[in-house]
Amino acid sequence: MAGSPNGRPRRVRAVTDGNFGFADHAASIGEQKTYIEAISDGLATEMDNDPNVLVLGEDVGGSFGGAFNVTKGLADRFGDRRVLNMPMTELAFIGAANGMALMGLRPVIEVQFADFISTGFDSIVQFAATTHYRWGGSVPWVIRAPSDGGIRSGPFHSQNPEAWFVHTPGLKVVAPSTPADAKGLLISAIRDNNPVIYFESKPLYRSLKGPVPRGEHTVPLGVAAVVRQGGDATVISYGAMVHQALTAAETLAADGIDIEVVDLRSLKPLDEETVLGSVTKTGRALVVHAANRLAGIGAEIAAAIAEDAFESLDAPVMRIGGLDTPVPFSPPLEDAYRPDHLKILTALRQLVSY
């Protein structure tokens, strides 16, 4: 319940200069924006563009604009009817969004923390996910879920629950790692005719800046990005961990080891082609995510690689993820729990020397 976005991020490497380096998938023209500003920008842009888009969630409205202020200013700009404060009843208001979406609106739902998405679980996994398959009704909403830890928020404000939803048929799941993608994936998610869960990475909110195209900007769902080229091994990751992987890769570059980094961007649909393409080239793969390693998304990716790129593999596919424990609060515990560039570095050294 803490609601505090002001924990002290540690080990999350902020990229604060203009040369963010993802020139291949972030447009180079545009303002410098933080990750969180890019989300707000994406929301406002699409609300401007489509009167069917409305925002709902706890505390999103009025002058407040949500626990993280992502929706601040939207009520002023678009009116209270398009930015609705909800009582603390996730099951009902996500269920209501199901109805709105069936009637042609495009609600963007904020759950206050990704952790609380479980409270609305049935409305997501039972109703929204199955409706198109069962009788053709289309449920085009987006749930924005501020996820991930590393900021001393404890077991209930640090969760990464994406695996539940990737395993559930009928949902789409995205997890941007850069400001440009944050905007572009959000707009694409809103335009998609299906329920999309959009996992925001809290540790990147204000620590990460990058160029964000003005106005219209979309990033297609289901398309990963190779954010660093390299021939010796592939790291597959998403969200905040992409930056940890890049940091580790830079360290190894000094030793003459070239790591390729794939940023999945979408977790469902998963861009297996890009992943397999890279691993076929490098012959070595490490999957990294902050979520619990056990039966996480990394398991699917590793299993897919192990099956479909078997002949190309020069080493076992490795995985790094959170421990199989709740996310602990205290810094030494959370740091032990959580993957970071040092742990990635250790794993990569092992992988390339296999």
């Binding site: 099951l91 009902a92 269920g95 039972q126 069962r134 009788w135 009704g137």
Partner: protein, 327 residues
């Protein structure tokens, strides 16, 4: 309490409502006998006792209104234009069914051309969906209403209360019909709740409510129509508790031995269809011949539906993975 609407059925409407009730009864009986003969597929729900509610409330809606019925509301599907043939094909898992064989019995019988939202098992998931539809109408300033149905069992769920609350806060054009049939599967009311009337749950959220005789189709219509008109004119949500009794088991396989015989005997005398037919006869709206003609017509329609369904193709297994996502 809700104000009485004063809306009453004309004689022509009475005849129409009677037809839908008879059709519901005939179709339900047919389904039961199909299943008993081993011609069914999976489980299916009994409708007996609920005809006045599902038909009477459904009839109170205009075509542009949206309805999210539940598993005792076959009558509502019929009133809204879903044919016995489609419903039977659906129950038998055929390609020609409402959902092409993807969902079981009345589940997933959604068709937005008929403004019907298909339900999922997880009760009462239809309720917030109906609310969201109502909120969409408000948002676009359309004069439309959403109606949904829940059981006594569902009225215990958190989602029931959350939805009423949200509807009240937004003054949404939503009508909730509670079909209090005294049991949730095998569980009698007193093991489900410690209150006398479910309608009391409206007050806890600021939703006006009303108790009606759920076996009197005219009373159901009048209350429902009143609530619909009220919602349409900006008066907000309402709750109607229709008291009735589930006359068969929960579903086809359930003998309902847990229901006391006397209780059933009492309610058998209050059968909604027989009662309405008596009224129609007494008031001269229909004579015996007319009623028999309706019965014959319903039999024929249902029989044709069975033929259609049983002769329909099975879905093509190669389509199994299609349509998970909207294009």
């Amino acid at each position: 309490m809700l104000d009485p609407s004063g809306a009453t059925l004309s004689d022509a409407q009475r005849r129409e409502v009677h037809y839908w009730m008879r059709l519901t009864r005939t179709l339900d009986d047919q389904i039961i006998s199909l299943w008993k003969q081993g011609r069914g597929l999976g489980g299916t729900f009994s409708q007996r006792g609920h005809e006045a509610i599902s038909v009477g409330a459904g009839f109170a809606l205009d075509p542009d209104d949206v309805v999210a019925p539940m598993h005792r509301d076959m009558g509502c599907y019929l009133v809204r234009g879903m044919t016995p043939a489609r419903l039977l094909a659906s129950q038998l898992g055929r390609a020609t069914g409402v959902n092409g064989g993807r969902d079981a019995n009345l589940h997933g019988c959604g068709d937005l051309n008929l403004n019907i939202i298909g339900f999922v098992s997880h009760l009462p998931q239809s309720m917030p969906v109906a609310l969201g539809s109502a909120m969409a109408f408000q948002y676009r300033e359309e004069p439309r209403v959403a109606m949904t149905f829940v059981g006594d069992g569902s009225s215990n769920t958190g989602l029931f209360h959350e939805t009423l609350n949200l509807a009240a806060v937004h003054n949404a054009p939503l009508v909730v019909i509670v079909e209090n049939n005294q049991y949730a599967y095998s569980t009698p009311l007193h093991q489900q709740m410690a209150i006398e009337d479910i309608s009391a749950r409206g007050a806890a959220q600021g939703v006006p409510s009303q108790i009606i005789d759920g076996n009197d189709v005219e009373a159901v219509y009048e209350a429902a129509r009143g609530a619909v008109e009220r919602a349409r004119s900006g008066g907000g949500p309402s709750l109607i508790e229709a008291k009735t009794m589930r006359m068969h088991g929960h579903a086809i396989h359930d003998g309902a031995e847990y229901v006391p015989d006397e209780l059933l005997a009492t309610w058998r005398k209050l059968d909604p269809l027989e009662r309405f037919e008596k009224t129609l006869r007494r008031s001269g709206v229909c004579d015996d011949r007319a009623l028999e003609a309706v019965t014959a017509r319903c039999r024929a329609e249902v029989a044709a539906g069975v033929r259609f369904a049983e002769e329909s193709d099975w879905p093509d297994p190669r389509t199994v993975a299609q349509g998970v996502y909207a294009p």
